[in-house]
């Protein structure tokens, strides 16, 4: 069992949690992830390390409540325990030898990209960070990023923070202005990672994207986390989760990502219903009807 030491909302959908996991804290590196299970019946859910403190023996995760598990997790608090917490999984992001980097976070991806920015900063690289959010209310981790970056750019889809735009527009400007990046790390929605990769490709800038396919075991066994990279499928849990953005087939990733949309939606509604009946809010969820979602083909 793994103790939750701290839980706080970063915005209405996103929670930051500090978990007591001393052995993992000693070893986990930027880009690696953990898998957790809330309880005996829970799913194994992959979440990226947002921060860690080897001395205090803690690992920090940041997650968005998108489905049954993350919604339930969001209602848990300090002092409670998680059934399982496995890691470090996946490979650390290759950051050695980088002098000028641009780290790009889309929405929640900001939290996942933060450790890379921090590591590069601590290892003498000059780091620019570009983050994009739907609206100003969702902006997070500005202070943390400020501390590890030379310049920080925050844009919103609706312009509510005074800077309307997309992360790719900022990146294009920076490149044009001669920023001369030798690495771009883009983490966020698939479409954003795709657009960033398309932008950096003609400039020949090495681009890492962090893929988040469905996963079950996280040890290379089940094959559900396949990502098409170049002309082959690789297992994101053991070969990734970071891949060369210029080689990833993003359309394929989007398509594979929806395989379980129907049962996920069903489980989400069920969880919302249950949490609401326990008087715990978690945002949303439709009426539940008795359906057996197993046989349905999504899409």
């Amino acid at each position: 069992m793994f103790k939750i030491l701290k839980a706080e909302q970063l915005n209405k959908d996103v929670t930051r949690m500090v978990i007591e996991a001393p052995e993992i804290a000693k070893r986990i590196k930027p880009g690696q992830f953990i898998m957790l299970r809330i309880d005996e019946r829970g799913e194994r859910v992959p979440l990226t390390m947002n921060d860690c403190d080897p001395e205090a023996g803690t690992v920090t995760i940041v997650f968005q409540a998108v489905g049954a598990t993350t919604m339930r997790l969001a209602t848990m608090h300090e002092g409670q325990y998680l059934q399982d917490f496995v890691g470090p999984l996946g490979n650390p992001t290759e950051l050695d030898g980088v002098a000028r980097a641009c780290i790009i976070g889309g929405g929640l991806g900001t939290a996942i990209a933060y450790p890379q920015a921090k590591w590069l900063h601590e290892h003498g690289a000059q780091v620019d960070v570009i983050t994009g959010f739907r609206t100003a209310d969702l902006i997070m981790l500005q202070d943390e990023i400020e501390a590890v970056s030379k310049s920080q750019f925050v844009v919103t889809d609706d312009g509510s923070n005074g800077h309307r735009g997309l992360v790719t527009q900022v990146l294009a400007k920076q490149i044009e202005a001669g920023a001369n990046y030798d690495l771009v790390v883009a983490i966020g929605p698939v479409i954003m990672m795709q657009k960033v990769s398309e932008l950096t490709k003609p400039h020949g800038i090495k681009t890492w994207v962090s893929m988040n396919p469905l996963m079950i075991d996280g040890t290379g066994m089940c094959g559900v986390c396949r990502v098409k990279v170049g002309d082959q499928y690789l297992h994101a849990c053991v070969d990734g989760p970071d891949f060369d953005g210029h080689l990833v087939d993003f359309a394929d990733a989007l398509r594979r990502g929806v395989q379980y949309r129907e049962p996920e939606q069903y489980a989400r509604d069920l969880a919302a219903h249950k949490l609401a009946s326990e008087g715990r809010s978690c945002g949303g969820g439709k009426e539940i009807h008795e359906q057996q979602p197993l046989r349905r083909k999504a899409g």
């Binding site: 052995e23 993992i24 070893r27 299970r37 019946r41 829970g42 799913e43 194994r44 049954a68 598990t69 059934q83 399982d84 917490f85 496995v86 890691g87 470090p88 999984l89 079950i216 075991d217 040890t219 290379g220 066994m221 089940c222 094959g223 559900v224 396949r226 098409k228 499928y233 053991v238 394929d252 398509r255 594979r256 929806v258 395989q259 379980y260 049962p263 996920e264 069903y266 489980a267 069920l270 979602p293 197993l294 046989r295 083909k297 999504a298 899409g299």
Partner: protein, 492 residues
């Protein structure tokens, strides 16, 4: 050895009760229900107590088959159990899962004319009987000097118990190889810790072989027995990620390590369309269903997709389990295998059960391409017919495609079960550990010692995908190898 009971001359095995195929193809309850005492005695009396015991030469761990069967025939079930258990620590599992037709029963004299003695079923019976009568097993053992004497030969390790007091051994993985090795070493006084990557112990017994063939409570019982003798289980530890082998030996202070990490990586067909939605490897289907209990979704959180018509590719136990699982999730299932029925590596009983449950066998057929619809979902499987070639000098027949025989099987789900490979993680993170080009660990046959001092390995990680009983045999040899190594260490 003269028979002390009246031989049952019936040429067929006593029928074992099973759930009827229609009912069971909609649930996950165990299919074969096992003998009752009377049926077991009746079946045991089919054994003619051959002086040369040919059956025993077919058992990789040397279960004293005629002796235990004699005890069953006489109604001395506790003694029968003791005899079996000395040679095989997981009889409830092996009685259900061993490919008996190629092992013990394949060598049985009675099989020459009619069916062999149901050795596996009897082994299962005594194991289940012992579980149901725990007190009787204990006292029988202590009271009956004759049974003791009969087992002495197969039991050198127990008499030496405690001789390895205080040594610490790390066991990586918790499949049958690891469980056997851990049990043997714990009995000899070692302080054993088992590290398992998943959240459940048992390896393939837990995540691979389905509930309807091997109830998970049985596996849990075996693990509890090991806990009772002091083995410590640590789940959620991926060795090579959280600790590597060197750290286990240097920093964590283990005197020796056993690696029983299995062969869990899936193989693919490498044909077009394999990335389509609705196409999965057997490991995905089986882990969702067995490990994550997806067949109980939404009571358990993990869902599983099941189509209307599922094509399963392969002919081994894994393919059979995948097919029968898909069937239970509600799909019509066609199993496609490139060779003929005789060449199918799956246990005969599983093939028989699968057919009973309505699974279509499409033999001498090979998939060449997966058809994909506009949404990226599988829409069908294009296959080609195969034929067996003339046997070569060694008598082996290969299969070749029949030209222009392509046809399409309609499908909205496909499960690939064409073998598995070893996870390279341990090899990559352990300097000095010799592996083959296929990442199989290279070991000394007799002791299971790897190229790295103090590190032993066995089971599927060494042999590639094999069987439960072979993995157990390796675990046992490794335990003996480790014991010798530790004693040498002690002496020096």
């Amino acid at each position: 050895m003269p028979c002390v009971y009246k031989v049952n001359k019936d040429n067929e095995k006593v029928v074992m009760p099973e759930l009827d195929p229609e009912t069971r193809s909609h649930n996950f309850c165990e299919v074969a229900l096992g003998y009752n005492e009377e049926q077991a005695q009746q079946e045991a009396r089919r054994c003619i107590q051959c002086p040369k015991k040919p059956c025993m030469s077919g058992c990789p761990v040397g279960v004293p088959i005629p002796q235990f069967i004699e005890q069953v025939a006489l109604g001395n079930f506790a003694q029968a159990y003791e005899l079996v258990h000395r040679a095989n620590t997981l009889p409830a599992v092996c009685g259900r899962a061993c490919p008996q037709e190629t092992q013990c029963e394949g060598k049985c004299t009675r099989g020459r004319k009619g069916q062999p003695v149901g050795i596996g079923r009897l082994e299962r019976f005594v194991a289940d009987w012992a579980t149901a009568h725990p007190d009787q097993v204990m006292c029988q053992d202590a009271q009956d000097p004759q049974a003791e004497a009969a087992t002495q030969s197969s039991d050198a390790s127990l008499t030496e118990s405690e001789d390895l007091d205080g040594y610490r051994v790390a066991v990586v993985g918790s499949g049958p190889a690891s469980l056997t090795c851990a049990g043997e070493l714990a009995q000899r006084g070692c302080d054993v810790s088992v590290f398992e990557a998943l959240h459940e112990t048992g390896g393939v017994l837990t995540y691979g072989i389905p509930e309807f063939r091997l109830p998970k409570t049985l596996v849990a019982q075996e693990i509890h027995k090991l806990e009772d003798v002091g083995v410590e289980f640590k789940t959620d530890v991926v060795v090579g990620k959280l600790y590597d082998i060197d750290e286990l030996m240097d920093e964590c202070g283990f005197d020796a390590v056993f690696v029983g990490t299995g062969a869990g990586l899936p193989s693919y067909l490498g044909i077009e369309g394999e990335g389509a939605n609705g196409v999965m490897v057997a490991n995905e289907l089986l882990t969702r269903v067995n490990l994550m209990k997806a067949y109980q979704f939404p009571r358990f959180d993990t869902p599983v997709y099941a189509g209307k018509h599922c094509v399963v590719v392969g002919g081994g136990n894994v393919a059979m389990d995948a097919a029968r699982t898909a069937r239970r999730l509600g799909a019509e299932v066609t199993l496609v295998y490139r060779r003929g029925l005789e060449q199918m590596p799956a246990r005969a009983e599983e093939i028989h059960h699968a057919v009973q449950e309505g699974i279509q066998l499409q033999l001498l057929t090979n998939p060449v391409c997966i058809l994909v619809d506009d949404d990226g979902w599988i829409d069908g499987v294009e296959c080609v017919s195969m034929q067996l070639s003339e046997p070569d000098e060694s008598g082996r027949q290969s299969v070749v495609e029949v030209p222009d025989s392509n046809f399409v099987i309609d499908a909205d789900m496909m499960v690939i079960a064409v073998g598995s490979k070893t996870n390279p993680l341990i090899a990559k993170t352990t300097p000095g550990l010799e592996v083959t080009s296929r990442n199989l660990m290279v070991v000394d046959e007799e002791t299971c010692a790897t190229s790295k001092p103090g590190v032993y390995a066995g089971g599927d990680a060494v042999s590639g995908a094999a069987t439960v009983i072979l993995a157990m045999g390796a675990g046992k040899r490794a335990a003996a190898g480790i014991a010798d190594y530790l004693k040498m260490k002690q002496a020096s």
